[in-house]
């Protein structure tokens, strides 16, 4: 089915991506990530000694601070903090630096839809920049579902408001390694098809959700390639510094 989007994209097309790392010089790691007009800045400080109360001191703890563009943080931002924290906990190797806290600060620069996925991508790039040990990268994507049942990716704010339902999905990045082909299959599915995080809003049928999942997986491959490329491009400079 043909769908008209205000900016002339086709339903599966993402907005132009941009990522730059190490932009704040006092932070241990930082990154800015933008998808079209949505832009988020992430800074990582840590690992710092000690964990907060109620955290397991045998593991590294991660703390997320969400700063909205204007005003105080409310319930939605609190929820974003919690989702982001749990998502980052699942991709970091927490046993390497026990009894430490890593702070991730998210500053929203501009919100034009798909804010949480954008923040997750930014946080992930900033963690890599800070050299925090991770199992794999994560890529986040937003799928929207219209009344008529078609599905569009990476919506703008206007599109988000018009849609009846949307889903934020986070998938692991495929691991490029020496592992033999097929060894990363889990229950007959490649590892990058597993869902790390899923948050939905609005009612949809179960089939529609699986449809979104499929679209999201396809797009996440493109996103992972972009993330990997933008992280690799800064590697040679680092190596020359080290040498």
């Amino acid at each position: 089915m043909e769908v008209d989007r205000a900016d002339g994209r086709n339903p599966n097309q993402l907005r132009p991506l941009a990522c730059s790392c190490s932009i704040l010089h006092r932070a241990h790691g930082s990154a800015s990530w933008s998808q079209g007009d949505t832009k988020v800045l992430a800074a990582v400080y840590g690992p710092k000694a000690g964990t907060k109360k109620n955290e397991n001191p045998e593991k590294a703890s991660i703390e997320v601070i969400w700063k909205p563009r204007t005003g105080q943080i409310g319930k939605p931002e609190k929820e974003y903090e919690m989702i982001l924290k749990r998502t980052l906990q699942s991709i970091c190797i927490l046993t390497i630096n026990p009894n430490t806290t890593t702070s991730v600060i998210i500053q929203v620069v501009h919100d034009d839809g798909a804010l949480l996925p954008c923040a997750i991508n930014a946080a992930c790039a900033a963690l890599v920049d800070a050299g925090i040990p991770m199992k794999h990268l994560a890529v986040a994507i937003c799928c929207c579902l219209a009344e008529s049942g078609y599905c569009i990716l990476d919506p703008t704010k206007l599109e988000e408001q018009k849609m009846k339902a949307f889903a934020y999905l986070v998938f692991p990045n495929s691991i490029l390694s020496v592992l033999p082909e097929g060894s990363s299959l889990v229950q007959g599915e490649p590892m990058e098809h597993g869902i790390i995080t899923s948050v939905t809003h609005g009612a949809m049928s179960v089939d529609d959700y699986f449809h979104c999942l499929e679209r999201g997986r396809a797009a996440s491959a493109k996103l992972s390639d972009f993330l990997r490329r933008s992280l690799q491009s800064k590697l040679p400079a680092d190596l020359s510094k080290a040498g």
């Binding site: 929820e79 749990r86 599915e189 869902i195 009612a203 179960v206 999942l213």
Partner: protein
């Protein structure tokens, strides 16, 4: 490390309680391998659930829901408000979820619990704006829904949603009348006396819920799926998936905030299937609670 092996050897010599405290994960995995849980439930069985309606006499609608020992008290208060210009035909629902220190050792007095705003936000996403308009553009209902967690023993969202849904079905909308273009609430006693003030909403005393949402939280651990976890299980195995389906089997929410275990298509399908069963159970429990009220 040698620790896992040590625990294997120790399990035969140690007392069960000591083993449970020292190697909680190992203790649970031993049970899971036998397809049973420490509280004698099969993996996919939810705990006993009860609802009692009308627990708060001064509220317009209220209910007390228990899932196992997780206890939630929900109460609704309604007020008349002027709707905003952007949505003249819509009312407003304000949801507060309270976790007082009484509910869990993790909650300290003075410091609000981390989970509280998250559960409140999730609830406001799942409960739709019903027909809350009184007089188009002039007056609409402002609904204050307060949920108190009295005992937090896992699956907080499930219990909170169940108590909220039950309180909504218990709701008696107060009668109001038009007085010189202003809307006045009619106190219960005066209803017969001043008959010149005609109630505006005589026939609409019940809220018709559209699709009623019900939820089930599952833990994913390795290949096991555990329905309706207790707080002990939640603290040991950290990957939670909450599925919300409404009575017409629409997916209202599929919520998985991170966690060490990745959810593959088959696991997601299993969780949805478990939720379908649970929705039927909960629907029946709710119907029974409502019919029990009518007999009284």
């Amino acid at each position: 490390m040698g620790l896992p092996n040590a625990s294997e050897d120790l399990s035969s010599e140690m007392e069960v309680d000591a083993f449970r405290r020292l190697f909680p994960l190992r203790y649970f995995e031993r049970h899971l391998a036998e397809s049973i849980r420490p509280d004698a439930r099969p993996l996919s069985r939810a705990r006993d659930t009860t609802i009692s309606m009308g627990a708060v006499a001064s509220a317009d609608g209220s209910a007390l829901a228990k899932i196992g020992s997780t206890t939630m008290l929900a109460a609704i208060k309604m007020e008349v408000m002027t709707p905003s210009l952007e949505s003249p035909d819509e009312g407003c629902v304000s949801i507060d979820f309270h976790m007082p220190p009484i509910c869990s050792p993790l909650v300290r007095p003075g410091r609000p619990a981390e989970a509280a705003p998250v559960v409140a936000k999730q609830l406001s996403d799942t409960i739709s704006r019903h027909e809350l308009s009184l007089v188009g553009g002039k007056a609409a209902w402002m609904v204050y829904l307060d949920i108190y967690c009295l005992d937090a023993d896992g699956a907080l969202f499930d219990a909170a949603l169940l108590s909220a849904v039950a309180a909504f079905s218990n709701l008696q909308i107060p009668t109001v009348s038009l007085d010189d273009g202003k809307i006045v609430m009619l106190p219960e006693e005066q209803k017969e006396e001043n008959s010149e003030k005609e109630p505006v909403n005589k026939e609409k005393r019940k809220l018709t819920l559209g699709g009623i949402p019900f939820s089930l939280t599952c833990i994913l651990h390795k290949n096991y799926i555990l329905a309706d976890p207790t707080s002990e299980e939640e603290s040991i195995m950290e990957t939670l998936v909450t599925v919300v389906l409404d009575s017409s089997n629409q997916l209202v929410s599929l919520y998985k905030p991170g966690g060490a275990v990745l959810a593959y298509t088959s696991a997601v399908q299993d969780c949805i299937a478990l939720t379908r069963q649970r929705v039927k159970e909960l629907h029946q429990i709710l119907e029974e609670a409502i019919s029990g009220m009518e007999i009284d």
